[in-house]
């Protein structure tokens, strides 16, 4: 069945009440029955929940075949924990038919790719999929289609019981002996633990893995002991060099700076740019540089930012410290400046993924967002964005909070160069729709700005401010005139991944890629 973004969704996926994407806010007002976990009572006072090994903790938590594990990606490419846990389950307990439900998976998790190839890991649910896992899933080696959800769609699915977590694993930079966890104070600090919060509340069992045991009580705790079954101390939970980079530097690339300046110009031309406005930006070159130019406009108009959310890094913390933003609330920290600031700098707070972006709760932060600045791998003439699949059709990206912030914000700006190498970023049809075009308002490229025709109000704002803009079709034509029009990708029938819209409907599917062959004319 065709959905609202024109993607054909195979019927076999549309069972058990699953629907195709119908457009923005389709589920508004409907009721959600929350699925409560089945948890063990610890009535008798316990001195400690420390367990010698991960395998022992898994045994205590009743780990068995068909188990679903949840992991969170605050340790990013430095994460050791997901591998350790899956390895212990497979090698020491002989567990089969494992589903890995992670907030993101990347090159740190090649071990899991091996288990997919061996048929031991049979399900993957994630908000990001990169590295060898992306390759093996695209090659059709995972038994069931991977399910890709946004950062807000994931807690929604957990709360709705669409994914039931048997064991949630929290990689904690510090924990006490009963499992109060924090993202700071240890040797592998990551700052916010926002993505782990919903998991810990909805999992049947929770295991905390830490490399820095601290005195009880470890307060204020991000994940609380009341939800934790076992605590395991290991030598190291991750490689600090890959967890948080040194301070994120603002790009000096003139192309990035030009685009960033235009993003700021667009923002300043809208009525939402006023005292107390709210803002989120990514950490990519031009997105991050937008901070710099935005600050100039704030100074010029003598206004302050009310609050900022997101994954956060140094430049935003800097604005907070200068008093130019009222509050910073984040689910994740990207560099040491942010890691060292959260819960330390006044008005720098932590939030859960649900609080950040869940479309089914009663007040996610994204719904109050004025502006979000996002990147894209591809954007098509319907303003649909792809941040998941490469130009070769292979899974190598992450919807993350992209669809959530785009849908929630009043003005969603995509910033991307028109071409990358030989690939047109602005194209006829994106490979995979990860953020639907009805949520995207403005596109800023190095060759010009385009406004979604669904937003005549913003077109008027740009015109009034004298900001030149063109149609997205003309940008697409320009891109093709520079780098050529690529042949269509060749797919097999097999669906290797299902892309859920944040509301749980199906936005798109990714099929197995057919190896490319050059045909003779």
């Amino acid at each position: 069945m065709k959905n609202a973004v024109g993607r054909d969704i195979p019927d076999f996926l549309l069972t058990g009440g699953k629907e195709v994407y119908q457009g923005k806010n389709y589920m508004d007002g409907k009721y959600l029955q929350k699925a409560a976990p089945k948890t063990r009572r610890y009535e008798k006072p316990q001195e400690s929940k420390l367990v010698e090994t991960i395998a022992e903790a898994l045994r205590q938590c009743g780990c068995k075949d068909g188990c679903t594990f949840s992991f969170h990606h605050h340790l990013r490419n430095g994460d050791y924990v997901a591998n350790m846990v899956v390895k212990a389950a497979v090698e020491e307990l002989g567990i089969k038919d494992i589903t890995v439900a992670a907030t993101s998976l990347g090159s740190a998790h090649d071990v899991i790719a091996d288990y997919i190839e061996q048929g031991i890991v049979v399900g993957v649910q994630t908000s990001g999929i990169r590295g060898r896992i992306g390759d093996v899933v695209s090659e059709g080696k995972l038994k069931t289609p991977a399910i890709i959800r946004s950062h807000g769609g994931r807690p929604r699915a957990i709360e709705a019981g669409e994914v039931h977590i048997d064991i949630a694993v929290v990689a904690a930079p510090t924990a006490d002996c009963v499992g109060n966890c924090r993202g700071i104070g240890g040797k592998s600090n990551c700052g916010s633990l926002g993505y782990a919060m919903t998991d810990a509340k909805y999992a049947d069992h929770v295991i905390v893995v830490t490399d820095c045991l601290v005195d009880f009580p470890n307060m204020p705790a991000s994940v609380e002991a009341i939800d934790v079954d076992a605590v395991v101390v290991v030598d190291s939970i991750g490689d600090p060099k890959k967890i948080a980079s040194a301070a994120a530097r603002i790009s000096q690339n003139p192309r990035d700076l030009m685009m960033a300046e235009n993003v700021a110009k667009v923002i300043a031309s809208t009525p939402y740019f006023k005292e107390g406005f709210s803002f989120q930006t990514g950490v990519g070159g031009p997105s991050l540089a937008a901070n710099l130019f935005l600050e100039k406009y704030m100074d010029e108009r003598n206004i302050k930012m009310g609050w900022a959310i997101g994954g956060i890094c140094g430049p935003m913390v800097e604005l907070l410290k200068k008093g130019k933003v009222g509050k910073v609330i984040d689910v994740q920290d990207f560099d040491l400046d942010a890691v060292n600031s959260i819960n330390q700098t006044p008005n720098h707070f932590e939030m859960s993924a649900s609080q950040y972006a869940n479309p089914a709760n009663k007040g996610a932060f994204v719904n109050k967002l004025d502006f979000v600045v996002l990147a894209a791998l591809e954007i098509d003439t319907g303003f649909n964005v792809n941040v998941l699949t490469g130009s070769d059709g292979v899974l190598r990206g992450a919807p993350g909070g992209h669809p959530d912030t785009a849908a929630g914000s009043k003005c969603c700006i995509i910033v991307t160069p028109l071409t990358r190498g030989r690939m047109a970023t602005v194209c006829e049809h994106v490979v995979t729709v990860t953020t639907p075009g009805d949520c995207v308002d403005v596109l800023v490229t190095d060759y010009g700005i385009a406004v979604n025709p669904l937003r005549p109000d913003l077109i008027e704002c740009l015109d009034k401010a004298g900001i030149p803009h063109v149609t997205i079709e003309s940008l697409k034509e320009k891109a093709y005139s520079l780098v050529g029009r690529p042949d269509d990708l060749q797919w097999e029938d097999k669906v290797v991944a299902v892309l859920e819209a944040r509301d749980g409907t199906i936005l798109d599917v990714v099929r197995k890629i057919k190896p490319y062959t050059i045909e003779e004319d």
């Binding site: 003139p254 192309r255 030009m258 190095d446």
Partner: protein, 304 residues
């Protein structure tokens, strides 16, 4: 093939950005930054044994990239090198808008280049006189001969000073207040104005020194330069911002031109605007302000 319109000898040239003609990644879309002129360099940026490769890159860029309204000028190698004749042929064959003569020291240098340009135009069937010229003054002799250089050819649209080489010759170095080149800049400006051509200042090389750059651009404007040579796209915005007339200047110029036209139609030669005496001597300046404002996108009226 991209046909380029016939170059205009006098047009807005606030910014001229240098880029190595050998770097396709740089020159493929240098126009996106909104610079008035790009300066594709065959001279110092290109290594001695890469001159040929750079010419090929340049020729294909000129022939296949649509630079739109952005002027495309090529800096050729000096007349004391074995490269300049072939450089001229490739510029003309590719259809560059203009050629910048490096290390120009005399009217004869301009005439020598002009003769070769004409020959190349005939060779490649390019409209005679199409290719414009400008001269870079890089030595004391060049500065002393500035007027004859500026006036040496009808193709000449302007003259620029090249700070690096000039300072070396003068045994001085960059000074934040500009005193190191004050006399040279002044003499070149006087010569350019006397000959009726444009005048451009040298590059500012320290990209991290924002204050120093601002100060230099403001001094350039105060001295009467038409524009400045740049080495990085991020330098463009400030020049365009500072060289643009202010809102106040535009309103004042509009009032003067309008009042002059009304008064002179009524037979009055001297009158006052906002309490200030105005006569015909003020009109060219006011009209120039409005023309510049229009070129900068700040004036949409019909007085110029």
């Amino acid at each position: 093939m991209i046909p380029r319109p016939k170059p205009e000898r006098f047009r807005l040239r606030r910014t001229m950005m240098f880029m190595n003609a050998q770097k396709p990644g740089l020159i493929k879309d240098a126009y996106i930054y909104g610079v008035d002129s790009i300066m594709l360099d065959l001279e110092d940026a290109v290594a001695e044994n890469q001159k040929d490769a750079a010419r090929f890159s340049l020729y294909h860029a000129l022939k296949t990239i649509d630079y739109g309204d952005t002027e495309v000028i090529v800096r050729i190698n000096g007349l004391d090198t074995p490269h300049w004749e072939e450089d001229i042929r490739v510029c003309v064959a590719g259809g560059a808008d203009g050629i910048r003569i490096a290390k120009c020291e005399s009217a004869q240098d301009v005439k020598t280049v002009e003769a070769h340009v004409l020959a190349a135009e005939r060779e490649f069937g390019v409209e005679e006189g199409r290719t414009l010229l400008m001269a870079a003054l890089e030595s004391p002799k060049g500065i002393l001969n500035a007027y004859e250089i500026c006036a040496a050819s009808d193709r000449m649209f302007g003259v620029a000073i090249s700070g690096g080489d000039f300072r070396k010759c003068m045994q001085t170095k960059f000074s934040p207040d500009g005193v190191d080149m004050m006399v040279a800049r002044g003499q070149m400006l006087i010569a350019a104005r006397a000959a009726g051509v444009q005048c451009f200042d040298t590059v500012f090389t320290n990209l991290d020194d924002e204050e120093g750059y601002r100060a230099e651009v403001m001094q350039n404007k105060a001295m009467g330069f038409d524009g400045k040579s740049l080495i990085n796209p991020k330098q463009i915005r400030l020049v365009h911002e500072l060289f643009a007339p202010t809102q106040k200047e535009i309103i004042q110029a509009e009032k003067i031109v309008r009042a002059y036209r009304e008064q002179s139609a009524a037979g009055v030669g001297v009158f006052t605007v906002d309490g200030k005496m105005i006569d015909i001597a003020f009109i060219p300046g006011a009209e120039r302000t409005l023309k510049l404002a229009r070129a900068c996108g700040l004036y949409e009226g019909d007085l110029v």
